[in-house]
Every structure is written in C-alpha cells, then in structure tokens.
C-alpha cells in the first residue's frame, strides 16, 4: 500500500487517525501496532509470520544479552543477532544476484547454467533489518536499555509510516517516544504533520511523477539513438525525479509520525546545493548515511586509522551502501563511484571546492547526475552505453535533434530545479528549516498553513485520481 494510493489516502489514513485520536493514550500504541501489522500484511501477508518470528527472536536474544553481565556472553548474543538479521537480508535480497552470477560464470566455463526458484524480496526488508540491527547494537553498547515490552519493540520495527522506505530510525532516537509521546501530542504538531505529509504527497505526484514519465521514456530509448542533449536531459530529469520521489516519501513518513506524536529524524536537507560529494552525503538520505557511519564506518576504524586504510574503509562502506540499494552491478558501481569521490574529496577536491565557494555546487551536481545514471539504468552495460551517449563523440550523435517535450515537462523541471536550488540562498534555507521545525503556530499561521495544505492536497489528490502512473521508486529497495 503506497502512501499516494486511493486506499491509503482515503480509507486507511483517515480511518486510522480517527481511531488513534479517539482512544485513550494507553491504547494508542496498540492501535498503531495493529494498523502497522495490517499495513504490512496488505502487501506482504506471506512474509508476516517470518517477519514476526525474526523480530521475536531478536527481542529474546537482546533480553538474554541484557540479562547477562559478562561481556563475552553479550558479544555472542550480539553476533547471533547480527548473523540472523544480515543472513535474512542476504538470503532474500542477494541470493538471486549471487546465483545469477555463479550461473553466468559456470556457463562461461562451459558448464550448464544453474536453475533455482527465484527468491521473492519481502517488502521493506532493507530498512527494517537496519533498524533491528540498531536496536541490537545500541543495547550492546549500553546506549539504551532494552524495551521491556515485545509489543513496544514490534511497534518500533513495524511503525507503518517508516517501515517500508524509511527514514531509518535508530533505536536511541525513538526509544523514549515509544512509551511516552505526550510532549508532542498537540494540535500544532498534528497540523504541522499533516502539512508535511501533504508537501511530500505533492512532491511525489505533482513533480516526481511528471518528470519520471519523461525520464522513463528517455532511459527506455536505445542509448545510441540519443543525442547528448537528450541523454543529459533524461539524466537531469531522473536526478530531480528521484529526489522529489524519495524526499517526498520521507516527508510523508515524517509528517505521519508527527501526527501520531513521533519525531522521526530528517532524511533530506536540500542535497543538490551541496558543494562536495562529502556534503552531499550529509544532506542525502541522512539516516542511511548516519547508520553507515555509526554501525559500519566507525567500527571499521573511522577516521582514526592511517590514510590508506581510511580510504579503503570509505570505499568499502560506499560499495556496501550501493549494494544495499539494489542487488545488481550498477548499484555497486554507483556506490563505488560515490566512494571514489569521497576519497578524492579528502585528497584534494575539498580544497578546490572551498576555493570555488558557491560555484562548486555546479560540479558537485554534475557528478551527482552522472552517478544517477548508474543508479537508474537497468544494468551496468546499459549505464555505460547511456553515459557514452552523454558524451558528444561523433558528429551524427551530436546533431541528433532533442525530441519534443511538453511545456508541462519543462515547467515542472524548472520548478523542481528552483525548489532544489533555492536553499543555496542562505535566507531561503533558514526560512525552509524554520517552517519545517516550527512546533507552535498562532491562529493566523495555522490558518495559512491549513489553506496551503488544503490547496496542495486537492491538487495532489486530483492527480492521484486522474493518473494511474503512480509507482514509488524506493519500493524497489
């Protein structure tokens, strides 16, 4: 069930909110948990038992870990929990990839291809696996005490706004709110949450979908028949599509959380105004970046190792990050590509971007656009062919005409660029952050906010009702 579907918007969400607001505080977690179970079961009924089983085992393991005072025993429980979670992720997400490659290798050496029944990917496994790991590791590290109630733990993992596509909420960020959210249970929080949800919905259906239609057409064209201008246009359209799609989803999740009294961490902060790839990763999919830093990069040694080791660690982390996004070589290449620029940043690029000042936004954006080609392509071979099409090589390719794109596409592209880059102006960025962080409104402010919410909701809903083109990109992961 995607947030922009008719079922979610007009049945599930209002039904849930009415019930959630109507019940006394002590039953709110129960309502939220039941709704989350229903939400997950709707798309993944076959995996529900497996999913609940894995959460239960994880919960019990951590209780055992907490019960023992000996560090080596705690370490054993930690390792079992990590193996269980990573093993599940590995099996469901990567088994097909490894078997495909093993089969291809076998065929290359003259053997018969392997045959196996394809493994089906459970919805949201990449996200909830990381959350289960944060619980395990945070408790092991002593950052938090384990939850006493299995229902609360289940709610942490399953909370429907963030379960399928994040933000990845680390346990210590939400531990307190799982048992007490009264501080955030105000009408202002709810209004702000609904506003945020509608902003996300509008980003998804009014911007990302329109750009996505054209990006899909361009990426579906044989790269050799694309002129460089068209190829760049497709890559830029996708660059904005994925941003407005994914950040729109995060806005919706954060907004829903706020309406329920939860404060989820921010996931995006105007990433395309970054002046380096290092900064990009502090602004793009922030919760993944933090997870990778805290639970992978720092345990590998972090910054306190010699430079050569540091570069290897950085690259490893980003290759794994690419692999987390998808079990295919193009995602690995995308991770490696970003990892490479992070290393180059540390070697010399950061110094250049400091000299360039705000101008360094442009080369950083171009590097990002090229990276998205690796991400968007169906295979590494297609990505490379597409990248070749972006380079004017032969006179014929350079003179291929740019196909016609509708005024609607150009307008939305310009709007997307304006929204994505306006925060490069510090006052605009401050105003945006101020608006999103506000937790108290005067009546006039609330009325203004509600009017904007109503208009955007009406617009977005009219597009939802009128368009069958409504897939969320991040559901692939």
């Amino acid at each position: 069930m995607v947030f922009s579907s008719t079922l979610f918007l007009f049945y599930f969400l209002p039904g849930f909110l009415l019930l959630y607001y109507a019940v006394p505080t002590r039953f709110k977690n129960t309502v939220a948990l039941l709704a989350s179970l229903g939400f997950y079961a709707w798309g993944g009924l076959n995996f529900l038992a497996l999913f609940l089983g894995s959460v239960l085992i994880n919960f019990v393991l951590i209780r055992f870990m907490d019960a023992t005072s000996e560090r080596w025993k705690q370490r054993i429980f930690l390792i079992i929990s990590i193996l269980l979670n990573v093993g599940m992720l590995f099996y469901f997400k990567y088994a097909n990839f490894f078997l495909d490659n093993a089969s291809a290798l076998r065929s290359y050496f003259g053997g018969p291809p392997l045959t196996w029944e394809k493994v089906v990917l459970p919805i949201g496994i990449s996200f909830f696996t990381f959350e289960k790991l944060t619980y395990t590791i945070d408790v092991y590290r002593g950052v938090n005490k384990p939850l006493k109630s299995f229902a609360d733990f289940l709610l942490y993992i399953m909370l429907f706004p963030k379960m399928i596509a994040g933000p990845i909420v680390r346990f210590h960020e939400i531990a307190g709110q799982l048992t007490d959210r009264t501080a955030f249970d105000t009408v202002d929080q709810k209004l702000a949450g609904l506003f945020r949800f509608v902003i996300g919905l509008a980003k998804k259906v009014l911007i990302a979908n329109v750009l996505g239609e054209q990006a899909d057409i361009i990426f579906a064209t044989t790269p050799a028949s694309l002129g460089p201008a068209t190829a760049w246009l497709g890559a830029v359209a996708y660059t904005f599509q994925i941003y407005f799609d994914f950040s729109g989803y995060s806005d919706m999740a954060i907004g829903l959380g706020r309406m329920m009294g939860f404060q989820f961490p921010e996931n995006f902060n105007n990433p395309y105004i970054s002046r380096s790839i290092t900064e990009f990763w502090q602004r793009w999919h922030i919760t993944l970046g933090r997870w990778m830093r805290d639970y992978l990069y720092i345990p590998l040694g972090g910054n306190r190792v010699k430079p050569s080791r540091l570069y290897i660690n950085l690259w490893t982390v980003f290759i794994l990050s690419g692999f987390w996004h998808g079990a295919a070589w193009n995602f690995i290449a995308w991770g490696a590509y970003h990892g490479l620029f992070l290393i180059l940043d540390r070697l010399f690029l950061l110094r250049i971007s400091q000299r360039l000042g705000a101008l360094s936004i442009i080369p950083t954006f171009i590097v990002t656009v090229i990276g998205w080609v690796l991400f968007r392509a169906e295979s590494l071979a297609q990505a490379l062919a597409y990248l070749r099409a972006m380079v004017p090589q032969a006179p014929t390719a350079a003179t291929l005409p740019v196909p016609y794109f509708t005024p609607e596409f150009w307008t939305i592209l310009a709007l997307a660029a304006a929204i994505a880059f306006v925060a490069a102006w510090p006052r605009a960025e401050r105003a945006e952050l101020g608006l999103l962080a506000t937790s108290h409104f005067s009546f006039r402010q609330a009325a203004g906010l509600s009017t904007v919410t109503a208009v955007l909701l009406l617009l977005a809903v009219s597009y939802v009702a009128g368009s069958s083109f409504n897939p969320f990109i991040y559901f692939r992961f």
Binding site: L7, Y404, A465
Partner: protein, 436 residues
Amino acid sequence: MLATNQERAKRVLLWLLLLMLLLPAVQAKFRLIQLAPLEGNFAEQAPRAVLNWQKLRDNTYQTDLERYLETRLGFREGLIRLRNQLRFTLFKASSSPFMVIGQQGVIFQDYPIKAYLGLDTIASLQIRFRVKQFKQVQQDLAARGIPLLFIMAPNKARHLAHLLPPHLPTPRLGQSNYEVFTAEMRQQGVALLDLNSLFKAWADTARYPLFSWGGTHWNAVGAALSADTITGRVEHLLHTPLPRLRAIGLPVITDTARGMDADLSRPLNMFQSLSAYPSVYPRLGPAPARPGERRPNLLLVGDSFSWGLMFFSPFIQHSFAPESRLWYYNSTVYLPDSFEHKDPAGSEVKKLDLRQQVESRQIVLVLVSEGNLYSREFELTPRLFDLYHPQSNEDKERIREIERKFVSQQSWEAQTQPGFAERMHEQAVATYYLEQ
C-alpha cells in the same frame, strides 16, 4: 481564555482537513452529491473484490480491492476534471495520451497523425503483397458477380495539417502507408475510391469545413459528400440507380456539436468546454425516384468512419437493402440503423459462414482509414483469400523453404529478437505469392 479559543479554532482546522481526506470515501459509499459522469475511454468501474484466503495470499484480493476503490472513489469525476482543466489551462495539454491539441484548439487523434507523418510505415514488399492479395480477392468476387470496392477514408491530420502542433516532425512525403498503398493499388488496377484525394479537391470549393474541430472523423458535410460519391460509385459498379438523398433546405449551423463531431472534445473531461467552432448539419431528404432504382444488399466492412454514413443522415439505410450489414472492424455485426443494434441473427463475424455471408451480397465495400491500413482490411482480405485459394502442401513447403533461407541470412542477434519467427514467416509468404 484566548489561548483556549485559539486551540479550539486550530482543532477545527485540523478536523476540516481530516474531513477532506474522509469525504471521498463517504461520497463513494452514499453518493451524497451527483456529479456528471466522465466521458470517453476512462477505465470502467472495477468489479467488487472477492475475498478468500487464496486471493489474500497471492495478493490478488488486495490489488482487486485497490482497483475497485480507485474507480469508485467519491468525487473522482470532479477530481479528474480538475486535473484535466489545470493541465489544459496551464499547458494546453490533453490528459489523454490519445489526443493532441492542435493550433486554434483543434483536436486530433494520435494515430492518424502518425499515419500522416509516415511514422508507422509498412515494408514495401508487404504492401505489394497485400495489394496483390486484395486485387485477387476483388477478382474472385467479381467472378461471382459481386463488386468489391476499397474506400480510403480521409484523414483529418492530412487535411488540417496546417493546424497540427508546430513541434511535430515534417511528414515524409510520398512515404506514408496511404501514399504507397494507393499508388500500388492504382498500378495494380484495384477498384479504389480515394476519399483522401477527393477531400483535398473538395476542400478548395466546399462552403463548409469537412471535419469538425472536436472530432476525429468526417463531419456531417464531409460524410454527406462522401456518401453521395460512394453511392454514385456503387451505381456505376452495379449499373443500376440507387435511391439517393438530396439537400432540402439550408443546413443547420449550430454551436452544439452532434454525435461524432465531439468524439474527441467530450472525453477531454474538463469543467469548462472548449470554445467550439460552429458545426454544420445539412438537411437532407429523399431525392425523386428514378426508373429502375433498387436497393442492393450491402456488406460494409469498416472502421468508425462507417457510423458517419448512418447517423448524420441515413445514407446506408436509404440507399441499400434492409438486409445490409456493417461488419465493424470485421468483428461485430451491426444493423445499419444504430450502434445499439447488433445483428440478432449473430453478432460475431468469426462465427458466421464467411462464404455464405459474402456471396449473398450484391456489393461489398471496405472502408479503411489511414491509421488502419496495417490491418489488412481488418483481416478480411486474408480470410477471403484463404477461402478462395487454400494453401496446398506444395505452397506450404515452398514457403517453409523461403523462410529457412531468410532465417539463415539473419544474424544471430536478429534471430533472438521478439517476433522474429512471425516476421520471417510473413516475409516468406509475401515473397512466395509475389513470385507467382
């Protein structure tokens, strides 16, 4: 006290917003407000989802229910109109992928534009083969005393090309299927009535437009001129006069488009109708009877242009026998008075005895528009050809031989392409019959 009032007012705002989310479901259930239904080719209402354990497990229940709720959503009509209106007002865009808004607000259908621009071309070998096959069928029926006439319907995109959106590519002159087909037909001596070229001639002299601004077919004037020409041609082929219609007064000129004249504009589904050009409807009545007149039994096999010969004015009903039938897309049988009336004796063409049906007629007309030229007269020609010239084992063996030769000439990569085998077979069949 002030703070409490403010809180209360903000609560009201919140509940009003939540009501916005709830209302479509309430409207879906109770239909509190009646809205005008949507027009055109929108998804039909999905059936109610059936719940059982198997469907829940394989996720089909979930998909069915989502589709059901989507198509029944309250205020859907208004929401879709809002989106369409916004897209049209802001971007002059049609929300249907099948419609193109041209200059001065004239609306076109997409595939006739492609046909005019030459973007859907068929290989010349295939065209020669298809024309030869049609010519053969024409001779077969002529031998049985039944004239078969190919009528090329006019293309709005070709005749109002100056009103097409300026961003479209330049047409590939002489290369469109229409141009190649009609040239080949003339060369092979096929009986052809090319209304496309006649429309070009009439456009210079006609007092009124021959196409409506908001439809894809000929308008009442274009249909009347065409019907009169077709009747004249049939009289010539049958050597006998037919009852005719004639003008009985000045035409009606109105801002309200009738019938097919709005078959594109109505499905735009907007709040505000486009400012329409006036539509012209000739007033026709029976012409004085001539000696020896008779109404032949007609079989008309055609696409949607056929309706224009029946509904603006009753040409088919007036000039042809009551037993006459329309085989719409060579698929569904209609009585010639209404698209509501399928033939009670059998409405599926494929279930009819083709020989008996065709040979009981006195005239067969095939009416095809440019965008449908690929369809081999809606598969009528191959069926008739097979009827009169069934393939012998020798034919089949020779075709297989040619096919094998063609396949061996293709690269390995080409052989892995989807539809390769079918293409090779078609090419072998065409080559074989062209060799005859």
